[in-house]
């Protein structure tokens, strides 16, 4: 049964461009990019318990690096977008190593400042980034194939996001993933078991920055134009909202959140003016009333219906008593 569903779902994903128009394909592509970002943040925040308030900066680094490598050094897109991710990951080391060495949420403050700095640099480093006027990004080609339509570019995004979903799915179930969860739930207990806290927290941050950089590299050619305003605090907050709304410590949750928060604004165009306010209130309400997100909510309902089922996975967070850790 499960196998049939998986195959049906895969086929559905593959033939999707046949049924959707240009605009809808564009939105679907945006969803794919959001999923990559949300997966990275889920690993960092949901599973490891660290917060980045500057992920839009890594997204921006990936987008600019990939676009500039292609336009200035003629490096093909196939190399430049992973390189954008690698550059974002390398830069994340510069913040992650000093900030994650220490107990406490220094990463939140450091990334908050970092996000602002990157935006300033993108605006003021005119000779490289073309400043506030932004950059025009071309769609990639492979041999004779040109991915100029949204439905052909879709397959690139589909392959990358499917691969990264598979990767994070396996990562959080591996020894490393369990280590992340143990650090989140009790750093003291993890340290006493011989876990090198700094190393694992830095790995989680590195991975999530890499994901954001890759997403940025894919984003540029999709929208064909990037400018510094697209990579600010609001965007960083938006990615965090995705995993909060969907469900912080789960891969399906991250995907649900990414889909919802990318599709909803397209439907609610009439409320564009109130969007930020609505999102802010929704974030607060989700944190208070559904701390495990929409996915967690459905999972809990499912468990209540089958009270005797054995629960295998337990990635969700146990509320910690203040002052005990």
């Amino acid at each position: 049964m499960k196998r049939v569903l998986t195959i049906a779902f895969t086929v559905w994903l593959l033939v999707l461009p046949l049924f959707l128009g240009r605009y809808h394909m564009y939105v679907v592509n945006l969803v794919g990019i959001s999923i990559i970002l949300a997966l990275g943040l889920a690993v960092l925040t949901g599973f490891t318990g660290q917060i980045s308030l500057g992920h839009a900066a890594f997204f921006g680094i990936g987008a600019y690096a990939s676009a500039l490598l292609t336009s200035k050094l003629a490096i093909p897109f196939w190399l430049s977008f992973p390189l954008g991710g690698i550059l974002a990951a390398l830069i994340s080391l510069g913040i992650g190593l000093p900030a994650l060495r220490i107990r406490g949420h220094y990463l939140a403050l450091a990334t908050l400042g970092f996000g602002q700095i990157i935006q300033l640099i993108l605006i003021h480093w005119d000779s490289l980034t073309n400043g506030p006027r932004g950059l025009v990004v071309a769609r990639p080609t492979l041999g004779g194939l040109k991915f100029s339509s949204d439905s052909s570019y879709y397959y690139i995004i589909l392959i990358v996001s499917a691969f990264l979903t598979w990767f994070s799915w396996n990562l959080v179930r591996s020894r490393i993933g369990r280590t992340f969860i143990s650090i989140r739930d009790s750093s003291v207990a993890s340290a006493s078991l011989g876990i090198n806290l700094t190393r694992y927290k830095v790995v989680a941050f590195l991975l999530s920055s890499f994901f954001a950089g890759v997403a940025g590299g894919l984003y540029g050619p999709l929208v064909k134009f990037i400018d510094p305003l697209g990579f600010g605090l609001w965007q960083s907050a938006l990615y965090l909202m995705m995993i909060v709304v969907g469900g912080m410590a789960s891969i399906p949750g991250a995907i649900i959140g990414a889909v919802l928060l990318t599709v909803l604004p397209e439907i609610l165009r009439g409320f564009a003016e109130y969007r930020e306010l609505i999102y802010g209130i929704a974030l607060l309400l989700c944190l208070i009333f559904i701390p495990n997100g929409i996915y967690g909510l459905f999972r809990d309902i499912g468990r209540k219906m089958k009270p005797n089922a054995i629960v295998v996975e337990s990635p969700e967070r146990v509320p910690s008593e203040k002052g005990t850790v």
């Binding site: 220094y106 974030l283 208070i288 701390p291 509320p319 005990t324």
Partner: protein, 288 residues
């Protein structure tokens, strides 16, 4: 030039110190890392602007009104957001303050638009020559008022019953509640004091920067100052704020204004590498 840069850096430094104090008060009492402190500054500035526009209140009355109104707003935040999140993990609390930041900022944008409103100077902004440096009475008054607020805060924490109760709660919430201190009330009061501090900082900073929904960015620099001074130390927030104000101004004067903007961040990273507890912070020992 050197002395001049230090004097004008001190003015900004006092503002960072006030914002930083609000941040540290919340952190020490409730262990919430409040990234929305800068928005309190913005809110205070807008309340001050509106009161000034419609009622033409004299400055001391205006100052007090903003203090009271933002304090009430702080209590509201505690009741709505943080009482229900009492047992939530720290990362959830940070995201809740992020939600509050977005709500206040986008709310202000809906009400007042994206413009920068000029705030009439309360004190004389014309520079006067003292020896070899220029000082504006406005900046002197700003520093005097800031120093007055800090002294009042020190007296409150050191000598009043409520202040002592707050310090007790900061040290050990469980023991404090066993001694008959209402921890809930202490939390609300912390939010009130910290928001009020932010609010009146907004009134002080408004004549210098103008009033706009995006002026909360000043908070982000103040957080760098807090890390420089020491996360869990009130005197640290003051020392960190003043030092960052001066360092930033020196960098701006001798290097360039673009460098000035990013100095705070490099100071932050440098502190984390060399002395993560900050100048005056104490090391927190992990206990099970």
């Amino acid at each position: 030039m050197f002395l001049q840069l230090i004097i004008s850096g001190l003015t900004v430094g006092f503002l960072y110190a006030l914002i930083g104090l609000g941040f540290v008060i919340i952190y020490k009492a409730t262990s919430i890392l409040n990234i929305a402190q800068g928005e309190m500054v913005m809110l205070g500035a807008f309340i001050g602007y509106t009161l000034n526009l419609y009622f033409k209140l004299p400055f001391p009355v205006l100052f007090l009104s903003v203090f009271v109104l933002t304090a009430l707003f702080g209590i509201l935040i505690d009741l709505i957001a943080f009482r229900p999140l009492k047992h939530a993990p720290e990362s959830t609390l940070i995201m809740a303050t992020l939600a509050i930041l977005i709500i206040i900022q986008s709310g202000a944008r809906l009400v007042w638009g994206d413009d920068v409103y000029p705030f009439p100077p309360v004190f004389n902004p014309m520079a006067k020559r003292v020896g070899r440096i220029f000082i504006t009475p406005q900046n002197v008054w700003l520093m005097v008022i800031a120093a007055g607020l800090m002294t009042a805060l020190f007296v409150f924490f050191q000598f009043t019953k409520m202040g002592k109760a707050m310090r007790a709660t900061q040290q050990r919430p469980e023991t404090a509640s066993l001694m008959g201190i209402s921890v809930k009330r202490v939390f609300s009061l912390s939010w009130a004091i910290s928001s009020a501090l932010g609010g009146v900082t907004g009134v002080l900073v408004a004549p210098l920067l103008g009033v706009s929904p995006s002026m909360g960015w000043i908070g982000i620099k103040a957080y760098a100052a807090v890390i420089l001074g020491g996360f869990n130390s009130l005197p640290g927030a003051v020392v960190g704020g003043l030092s960052l104000g001066i360092i930033e101004n020196l960098a701006g004067g001798y290097l360039s204004s673009a460098v000035k903007e990013i100095t705070g961040f490099f100071v932050l990273i440098l502190v984390l590498v060399i002395r993560p507890t900050g100048l005056l912070g104490r090391k927190v020992v992990n206990k099970v």
